[in-house]
Symmetry: C2
Subunit: 459 residues, 2 copies
C-alpha cells in the first residue's frame, strides 16, 4: 500500500531528477501550455503615484503605507544600526509582512517516479507574464480570504499534516534587505490518492523542473526556495568536507552572538537618503530600489482588479557561487551575511550577493570580496549563468543573475567558508540558516549535469 | 600533539562520565572545599522596597524598573495575546535582558580523562550560598565591566574561538515565562596547555559532576544548561526512535507557524491582575511570582555591595519527564510549549513544567496533562527526584523539583511526542529547540546509572 517506504526519499528524488525516466507529460508540451496560457492568464500593470492608490494609504501615525483592511503587508521606513559593519548606519524602506504563508509543493508517484504538481501563475511583477510556481503559494491573507477571492486550490493538503506524507516542512526567510522578518513555510507533501489537475496546473518530474531552471525567468522564486529544501541524497556531510557541520554552526553562532544590530521604525518621509514626493520613494543617488504604486488588472486569476505598492530594484542583482573541488568533493564558498530583515542577525549567503551597479563605477578595492573574480571569469569557468526573477507579487521586474564559476584552488577569506552541497542540505532541514539567494543558487546548482544529484540520478 | 583527535568526542565524554576512571581530585575533598569556602565566599541579602533601591528606578516613560546606567537588565510589564491557547490573554512582569552572555565550560584532559573546570560561586538568590557554576558565567555587562569589577577569569578562552578546540557553541534560551528573549551562548572549549587554577575553581570529571547532580541545589542552572549541550554519544537517532527527527522538526514548524503570539510592553503599574505598592510587585491571587528589591553584600566576589530587583517564585516548580522504553530504546515525553519570552514561539518542554501550587486546589480536569500521574507516581517508578535551583543572580530562592518517572506503556497525547535522548542531543546542536527546563532534566537524566551515557561509559 505505502510503497514509498520501500525506497528512501533521497533515492526517489534522484530518480525523479534523472532525464532517463518516464514522465507523465512532455516538456515541450508543457512549454506550449505556458505559451498558450498567456492568452487567457495575464496581468495589465499600470504605474500610478503611491498617493493615488485607492486601497492603500500613508498612515499618519507610523509614516508607513498600509492597506485599508490593515492586512497583507506594509511598507515601512527603518533606521538600521550595525556598529561593527563597514556601513554602520543607514535608513531604508522595507516590506513588513510578519504573517507566515505557505509555499507548498504537492508530489505524487506515477509509474514509480515522483512528479511535482506545478502551477502556471501570472504575477504583476513578472517580466514575462507567466512563471512556474509551487502548487500552493498562499499568504495567510490569501487563505483566510481577506481579499474575497475564491479558495486556494490544493491548500487542504498542506493544512492537515497528519493526512499525508510530509517530506519538507520548514520556515525559511526571504530577502533580508527588502523584507522585515518575512518567512514562509516551505512544504513538500506526498499524496498517494487521485489528485484532480485543475486548469493551469501540471505534473513535472524534477528532471523536467531542472530543465526549466536552465532558462531565464521561468521557475519562480517560491518554487526555487521549496526545491532547495528537498532532502536530496548528496554524499553525507562531515566525511570529506572542509569544515565539520559543527564548525559551521559555531561560526554562525559567533557571528550571530557578536554582531549587534538594531532596526527601528521611522516614517518613510523622514528616512535619511530617501525622498518621497507623493509619486514614488527613491534613493537620493538613484540606487538600491524604488517603492512605486501600480494598478493591476488580472485575467485568469483569483481577483480581477486591485492596486498596491511594489518594490522595483535598480538594475539586475548578482547571486553567485565560486565552486571548487576539495578532496574530490565539490564545495561552494559562502558567507555569513548580516541583513536588517533577517529573523536571527545573519544567514548563510552565496559568495557574492549584491547589486553590481552599485559598485561598477567605484575603485575595485571598495568592491565586495570576489565580485571582480566573478564578473571577469573566463567563459570556460562558468558552469551556470541564468537570470531568475524575484517574487512577482511584491517586486516589479526585479531579477538576479545566478552565476556559478569554477575555480581550481579553494581561495580563503576569514569571513567565508567552503561548504558542501550536502552540508547546505543538512542545514536546510532547519529554519533560518540558508538565505533565499543561496536557496535559489542551490536549486540551480542541482539542475547542472555535473552536480552530485545528477550523477547519482543516472539509474 | 593533538592526541584528542585520536578518539571521538563522544567516546571521550563517555569515559569522563565513567566512575571508574582516574580523577585529578577527590569528590569528598571538593565537597569539603565547598563547605570551607562558605566561610569566605557568601552574600548577605536584605530585602528592601523596590522604591528604596538606589541604583534602580521606575522609568516614567515605560513604567519599567531600570538600572541607572541603563544596562544589566530591566523588569518590564508585558501584555500577552495568544488567541489559540486555553488562556488567550494575560499580563505579567518579565525580565528583559537582550544581551547574549557567555556560559563557558573549560575542559582539559588529564591522564586521558576529560575534566571540567568548575567554579564555586555564591549568588544572592541561592538558597544555600555556594553552588557549582561553569568556568565562566558572564553577561555582556560583566565582560565589558560596566560594574567596574575585576576582569572575569578565563574569559579569554571563550573570546577567541580560533585558539582552542570548541566542542560546543550554541545560543540557548532561558525561562520563557520569566525572561523576554533571554539567550546565553553555551560554550565548551577544550585546552591542551597549562591552565592556572584560581581560588574557588576545581577540575571535575563528568562522573563527579553527575554525582553532584544527584544532590539538591549543588549544580547551578547555567552548568546544567551547558552540560545538556555536550555531544554525548547516545545511540544514533531515527533508527529505533518513535518519530524521525524530520517528523519532530515538522511538528515544531507546525506549532511555530500556526500559533499567533503577541507580546506588547505595558507599564508595570497598569498590568491587569498585578499590584505594585512601592514595595513589591505581586499577583492579585498571590500566584506565579513576586518582584522584590534586595540589597546585596558580597564577600569573595567581584563587587562588594549593590542593590537590584529579583524574581521570587511562589512555591517550588515541577519539571518532569515521563520515560518509557520503545523497541528497546528509552524515550521521554515532550511537549511543544508556547511561552511569551521564547525567541521563536515555542520550544521543546518536558512532559510537565508548571507550578503545582497553582493547580493543587483545583479540580483535576483543569490540571495540565500528566501532572496527576507524576505527582501520584509509585515510589518504585521514580528514577530521579532532585530539587535544583534557578539562576541565583535573578531569582531569589526559586527552585524546581526535577522528576523522572518510568511508565510501562508509551501513553499518547496529540500535543506530545516521545523522543530519544539522542534526538534531544541532535536538536541541541542548534539554538532554540530545547528549553532550559528540558536541558536541566536532560543533564540530570544523563547522571543516572541506567542512562545510555552511563551504560556506554563503563570502559
Amino acid at each position: 500500500m505505502r510503497r514509498w517506504e520501500d525506497i528512501s526519499i533521497s533515492e526517489r528524488l534522484a530518480r525523479s531528477a534523472s532525464p532517463a525516466v518516464d514522465t507523465v507529460g512532455d516538456l515541450d508540451a508543457f512549454r506550449e501550455l505556458m505559451r498558450s496560457s498567456a492568452a487567457t492568464m495575464y496581468t495589465n500593470v499600470e504605474r500610478v503615484a503611491l498617493s493615488a492608490l485607492s486601497d492603500w494609504y500613508e498612515c499618519t501615525d507610523t509614516g508607513a503605507f498600509r492597506h485599508r483592511s490593515g492586512r497583507f503587508f506594509t511598507i515601512e521606513g527603518v533606521s538600521v544600526d550595525v556598529p561593527s559593519m563597514p556601513i554602520p548606519r543607514w535608513d531604508q524602506p522595507i516590506i513588513r509582512q510578519p504573517e507566515i504563508g505557505i509555499l507548498g509543493l504537492l508530489v505524487k508517484e506515477f509509474d514509480g517516479v515522483l512528479h511535482c504538481l506545478v502551477q502556471l501563475k501570472a504575477e504583476p511583477g513578472n517580466c514575462n507574464g507567466i512563471q512556474v510556481s509551487p502548487t500552493v503559494q498562499a499568504t495567510r491573507s490569501n487563505y483566510t480570504r481577506v481579499h474575497g477571492g475564491t479558495e486556494t486550490p490544493y491548500l487542504d493538503y498542506f493544512r492537515d499534516r497528519a493526512r499525508h506524507r510530509v517530506l519538507v516542512d520548514v520556515r525559511q526567510s526571504e530577502q533580508g534587505s527588502w523584507f522585515l522578518s518575512k518567512r514562509n513555510r516551505n512544504m513538500v507533501v506526498e499524496v498517494s490518492g487521485d489528485v484532480e489537475v485543475h486548469d493551469g496546473f501540471g505534473w513535472l518530474t524534477l528532471a523536467q523542473v531542472h530543465d526549466l531552471l536552465g532558462q531565464d525567468d521561468v521557475v519562480n522564486m517560491d518554487t526555487r526556495s521549496v526545491l532547495a529544501c528537498l532532502p536530496f541524497g548528496e554524499p553525507a556531510p562531515d566525511e570529506r568536507s572542509r569544515h565539520s557541520t559543527g564548525e559551521l554552526l559555531g561560526w554562525l553562532t559567533e557571528t550571530r552572538a557578536s554582531v549587534d544590530i538594531s532596526v527601528r521604525r521611522k516614517p518613510i518621509r523622514e528616512l535619511n537618503g530617501w525622498h518621497y514626493d507623493g509619486n514614488i520613494v527613491t534613493h537620493e543617488d538613484s540606487r538600491h530600489f524604488d517603492v512605486i504604486g501600480v494598478v493591476v488588472q488580472a485575467h485568469g486569476r483569483e481577483v480581477g482588479t486591485w492596486d498596491q505598492p511594489m518594490i522595483a530594484a535598480r538594475g539586475t542583482g548578482l547571486t553567485a557561487f565560486l565552486r571548487t573541488t576539495i578532496d574530490g568533493v565539490p564545495h561552494v564558498l559562502v558567507h555569513a551575511k548580516v541583513e536588517p530583515g533577517i529573523f536571527d542577525v545573519a544567514e548563510i549567503a552565496p559568495t557574492v550577493q549584491c547589486a553590481p551597479e552599485t559598485y561598477i563605477h567605484l575603485p575595485r578595492q571598495t568592491w565586495p570580496p570576489f565580485l571582480a573574480e566573478l564578473l571577469t571569469a573566463d567563459a570556460s569557468r562558468i558552469r551556470l549563468d541564468v537570470t531568475q526573477s524575484e517574487e512577482g507579487g511584491r517586486f516589479l521586474r526585479t531579477r538576479s543573475r545566478n552565476l556559478i564559476v569554477d575555480v581550481d584552488e579553494p581561495v580563503e577569506h576569514p569571513d567565508y567558508r567552503w561548504v558542501t552541497v550536502s552540508q547546505l542540505a543538512e542545514l536546510l532541514r532547519h529554519s533560518h540558516y540558508v538565505n533565499i539567494q543561496t536557496r535559489s543558487l542551490l536549486a540551480c546548482l542541482r539542475s547542472l549535469r555535473d552536480s552530485p544529484t545528477a550523477v547519482e540520478s543516472i539509474v
